[in-house]
């Protein structure tokens, strides 16, 4: 009943994690990503690692993918036409007037997804209060549609001013487009997002129209291929805002899945925080090219209601994962002023770090770690053996420039990389008024466990939890993704009984919307409906999203109770409370269907063919010199072990410096704690 297969497609590897409820076992697998045919990589990894009979009895296939994201980044999608309110056709191009690089006078605005000649204004105008200011001139719509068809568009996006407050004009435009026999994708902004900010909503609507067909084709091909393997369960894909949705729904709302990669890791971290009752947790997900960090407060990741891809806003729930361009493949180089920089340039999958022996010649963070012995006698799950001589050669290219030894440069690369990662973590905590020292650190990703003690020492964090299958944790996170639908609408109302009554009307409509979208998820489903209100003090733009109790589409809490809770959270978030009355800005509904819980399972890592060794000479940052590190496979940690020790797992290597202790924890995690007696600052 609960057997499930999770596959996460990353830039370099396609990762597999499977839970088999018959044997109560979790196991993993990995194959190189197939950029030209990503679904084929999925099939490869299943065929090579999952027995046929398990595929046939699995209930769920859970998927994280960068297909939609790549379509956007590479601008491969539909030819989209945009119908908008006359006088406002350049919203997509003028944006909010800002620049991504503030110190760069030559910064170029990204090309809009719809060029100006395919953006046509029509005669109509809605006011912010939902009143019609100028009625819809139907003939202007017919003309616009005829013009766009003549220009050969595949999809039409419609975004009219203030459609969030009253969608009748958009609906009428949608009907006219269909009446005229247009057979391509039609995307209406109020159905994509019910929130105000016309640039952000237009951008999201256009993205929807741009990627929908491509995404649908991909999901259809994948589902057919899975069925070809004998899979007959339900196919789900992760949402950028957490949780998952069915392939059928993703075909309708592809923009909700754009950021599915890093989110699965954050989600897995949240589940683990709930299970272990951790109130403040911070993640450090170190991959090949980037470092991602998320705060998990009270068992939930912070969720934003707007994300961004390549400078384009996406108005949809978005787990707040911060990235910097520093990972295992980040390249070290000397800048114009003579200091060493690490990243954001990356050696990527090809050629990869020099030590992989695939032709890379520039030194990366992985080369530095290999040279210092921090990766132990590593043989990676993909069969790559580290070549320390090649790492040294690469390091020498920078070492001569700075007049330092390779050893000094290698240490320097790790210190610089760790300091920028730690700074990113410090900043997201300060932003929330929190202190990193109070937090539990959770490293994962291929290079996360390598950086752990360096990061913890930088941030004065004394407790670390290393999840099972740390190197494949994003795929493991997929297995716990509940099915979620959400909808929101901006409605500026006073927070009083009358305002709540109107907010309840909006909520009831939104719940119907989520219900309608979920038609496809099968009959025997128990859904939980929940409601949130975005609130602010009048005159302020700072807002908070607050959970409110509801039943049958009505908010059941009194206005004062909600206001009190808002004020409490506001004080925590912003440091003070204002005298102004509280108002509602948006109403949010969500519908969650929990997948059956996975019980305690045996977690079995992939095998490597590394020869067992008992110790390894590596550099200790805590001692400032090389010393012998014990080398232990993860499974051998049964009792607490004191550092220095290198712990090996198929997809990741843990570097545990002197002054740290590593011990097993109840459900397959490892706990690392800093010795109190350590003299380190």
């Amino acid at each position: 009943m609960v057997t499930r297969i999770g596959v996460d497609i990353g830039g370099t590897f396609t990762d597999l994690v499977v839970y088999d409820d018959r044997s109560e076992r979790v196991f993993e697998g990995k194959v190189p990503t197939r950029p030209g045919a990503p679904e084929q990589g999925v099939i490869d990894v299943i065929k090579t690692h999952v027995p046929q009979e398990l595929v046939e009895r699995a209930s769920y296939f859970l998927h994280g993918t960068t297909v939609g994201l790549n379509a956007l980044l590479e601008r491969r999608g539909a030819k989209v036409g945009l119908i908008c309110t006359a006088g406002l056709r350049d919203v997509l191009e003028i944006r909010r007037g800002d620049r991504a690089e503030m110190y760069n006078p030559f910064w170029k605005v990204p090309e809009p997804l719809v060029p100006r000649y395919l953006r046509i204004g029509i005669e109509e105008r809605m006011r912010a209060d939902g009143e019609v200011h100028r009625p819809l001139a139907r003939e202007s719509v017919s003309q616009a549609v005829a013009e766009l068809r003549a220009k050969g568009v595949d999809s039409i996006a419609v975004c009219l001013m203030n459609a969030y407050a009253n969608p009748t004009h958009e609906l009428a435009v949608g009907a006219i487009i269909a009446e005229q026999g247009f057979e391509g994708v039609i995307s209406l902004s109020h159905q994509v997002s019910g929130e105000y900010r016309e640039y952000e909503r237009t951008s999201t609507t256009v993205i929807d129209a741009f990627v929908r067909r491509r995404m649908a084709d991909y999901l259809e091909r994948l589902e057919a291929a899975l069925q070809g393997l004998g899979f007959s369960g339900q196919c789900l894909i992760t949402r950028s805002g957490g949780g998952s949705m069915t392939f059928a729904e993703a075909t309708e709302r592809p923009f909700e899945t754009i950021m599915s990669g890093p989110v699965a890791g954050a989600q897995g971290a949240a589940k683990l925080a709930q299970k272990r009752d951790v109130d403040l947790l911070i993640t450090a997900d170190v991959g090949g090219t980037s470092f991602d960090t998320t705060l998990i407060v009270d068992g939930a990741p912070a969720v934003l209601y707007e994300g961004e891809v390549d400078g384009m806003p996406v108005q949809t729930p978005w787990v707040d994962v911060r990235s910097i361009g520093s990972g295992g493949g980040s390249i070290a180089q000397i800048d114009a002023g003579g200091l060493m920089q690490v990243g954001p340039d990356s050696a990527g999958a090809e050629p990869g770090p020099a030590t992989y022996g695939k032709g890379g010649t520039r030194p990366t963070t992985t080369d530095a770690a290999a040279y210092l012995g921090m990766l132990g006698p590593a043989v990676l799950a993909s069969g790559i053996r580290l070549d320390v001589d090649l790492a040294q050669k690469a390091l020498a290219t920078v070492a001569t420039g700075l007049g330092k030894s390779e050893e000094e440069i290698a240490k320097g690369i790790l210190r610089i990389a760790a300091s920028s990662m730690a700074n990113a973590m410090r900043e997201i905590t300060v932003e929330k008024g929190l202190d990193p020292r109070q937090m539990l650190l959770m490293p994962f990703g291929g290079a996360g466990p390598l950086m752990t003690t360096l990061l913890a020492d930088e941030l004065h964090i004394s407790r670390v939890i290393v999840p099972p299958l740390a190197g494949n944790f994003s795929a493991l996170g997929l297995l716990g993704a509940d099915m979620v639908q959400s909808a929101a609408r901006s409605a500026i109302l006073p927070l009083d009984e009358a305002g709540l009554k109107r907010a309840s009307d909006v909520l009831a409509e939104l719940q119907k919307v989520t219900e309608r979208r979920s038609d496809k998820d099968g009959p025997d489903i128990v859904a939980t409906l929940s409601a949130r209100l975005d609130l602010r003090f009048r005159g302020q733009e700072h807002s908070l999203s607050i959970d409110v109790e509801s039943e049958g589409g009505r908010i059941t809490e009194a206005a004062e109770e909600i206001a009190e809770r808002f004020k409490k959270q506001y004080l925590r978030a912003f440091g003070s409370v204002l005298r102004q009355p509280v108002e509602i800005i948006s109403v949010r509904a969500s519908r969650t269907v929990a997948l059956p819980e996975i019980g305690d399972a045996d977690i079995v890592g992939a095998r490597t063919d590394a020869e067992p060794v008992s110790s390894w000479n590596a550099y200790s940052f805590a001692s400032g010199e090389r010393m012998d590190f014990a080398v232990l496979p993860r499974g051998a940690i049964i009792d607490p072990v004191a550092g220095p020790v290198i712990v090996t797992e198929a997809t990741s290597t843990f570097y545990v410096d002197r002054g740290w202790r590593i011990a097993p924890a109840p459900s397959g995690e490892l706990m690392m704690t800093k010795d109190r007696t350590s003299t380190d600052d």
């Binding site: 003028i94 800002d98 760069n104 002023g337 300091s419 008024g433 733009e541």
Partner: protein, 578 residues
Amino acid sequence: MTEDIVAHRAAPSAARGADADPITTQVVRHALNSAADQMKRALIRTAFSPVIYEVLDFAVAIYDRDYRLLAQAPSLPLFMGTLNSCVSEAVSAAGGIEALEPGDVLIYNWPYGTGSHPQDVATVMPVYVDDELIGYTAAKGHWLDIAAKHPYCTDTTDVFQEGVIYPGLKICRRGELDEQLAQLVICNSRVPDMIEGDMKAQIVAVNTGARAFEAVVRRFGIASFWDCVEHMFDHGEAIVRSFFERMADGRYVGEGVADNDGISDDRIRFPVAVEIAGSDVTIDFTRVPDQLSGPMNAPAPSAVSASRVAISMLAGCGEAPNEGHFRPITVLTRPGSMFHPLPPAPTFLYGLPSLQSIEVIYHAIAQSMPGAVPACSGGCIVGMTYWGRREASGESWADGSPHPVGQGAWDGGDGGTMLHISESATRFSPAEIWEAKNPWIVEKLELATDSCGPGQYRGGLGVDFVFRMLEDVHITAAMDRSQTNPWGLSGGGEARPNSAAVTYSDGRRETFSKATDYVVPKGALLELFCGGGGGFGPPEKRERQRIAADLRDGFVTSDYVKRHYPHAADVSPDEAPG
């Protein structure tokens, strides 16, 4: 006359940075930038007024005890370069270092020291490690109202009409807020809640920065920290010098033009010279007019700031600058001139000449290296302030915003449409947010056809805004460069300048650029025509395909093509690629 000239220089190299470990230096540099970033986040998190946390009209930075810039967080560029003067002047006004104690916070807005108008208020905190002064943290934010004669003014005639002055007083003593002084500040505002909130937020910001700064110094140890700082400064200096070494020695003059000083109608020409000698750069503001009777005077620190912003953006490799980046730069000003006004000269519109001077400096540099800088943008932030009383509820409301302009083309690309480079970290409001709170309908917010300067690369298009007022709305318009076209470079053509008009219900139309407390009545239209960007390179070298695309997209008309691109007069939109 020369003895009257003041030379503003960064602190010179201490020549002991070479001993520092370059790796630790890089880690220290990251840590200091992160400490400044934490100040920024604390301020955004706790500020009350959207001007601070949405528009980001503020700057935060960390200085050492010699007022040398250690780190600043990306925020309002024009503020960032003025904070050293805010710190040194505030400390000296407060009685010098001896008068300071741990936990003190100074509040300071004397415009001739802050390099701003009085509304831009600085908070400054000394930072100590084991009772030794190591430096300062500083924040400067735009406070919505400190009791000037109007919420925003373009016609003041002395500084005392521009708001209350806080001359470097201790708003906190040994960590305790001075309640009496705080009440005086709060009571002297039309929006007391906002002022109270923003003042406290700035106090939080300097305290956050002080803790982070102290932690950095403790982590590396005092001696090692200062060695690294010297090495870090040398690094910044080397980056900027490597840029100017490529430029031929000489004196290059750019010319700024302002419409008027806000009081009289006379146009103001202000030449700024850039002198290159080796890798040393001198920016000479001494030939500008004497100080003006209207508020278009830019206090000396703002001339220094504009110079540093211009140079470090151009030559700083996209990184956050520190004191080292400023070392190659000397700025000359003449006391009693519009870029070094003396009290009580009015300064309310100081931002307009100083932000324009960034591009004037680029204009000068272009004469030696035209490919190194962009052509002129619309040349202004087109700042508008709106207020009134709502008909239904009687409540007062206020809002304000900069507006985007076309950016200059450069050797390799067309210009885009963005806010002025002096506000490069800022965004303007979506029309739907405006309409949800202000009594107007945005009838038009569109790129203005033919508003760009032609060239091998064309300038960015200007923007037309049309607001239809649903109730009476008071406005103050702070707009400049309405009578002078944005320049092109290397043969590129000029673009359309900024302008504004009100059209009344009876068809009467009035145009203006600067105006204080102008009433746009219910039903009337307020139109803003934001300027375009100048072109780069001879128009006859513009590729036919690009002209076809501009025509297809309606960025230009066929008349414009015939006029500026005769070599492609017969071009058809169908020739546009893809």
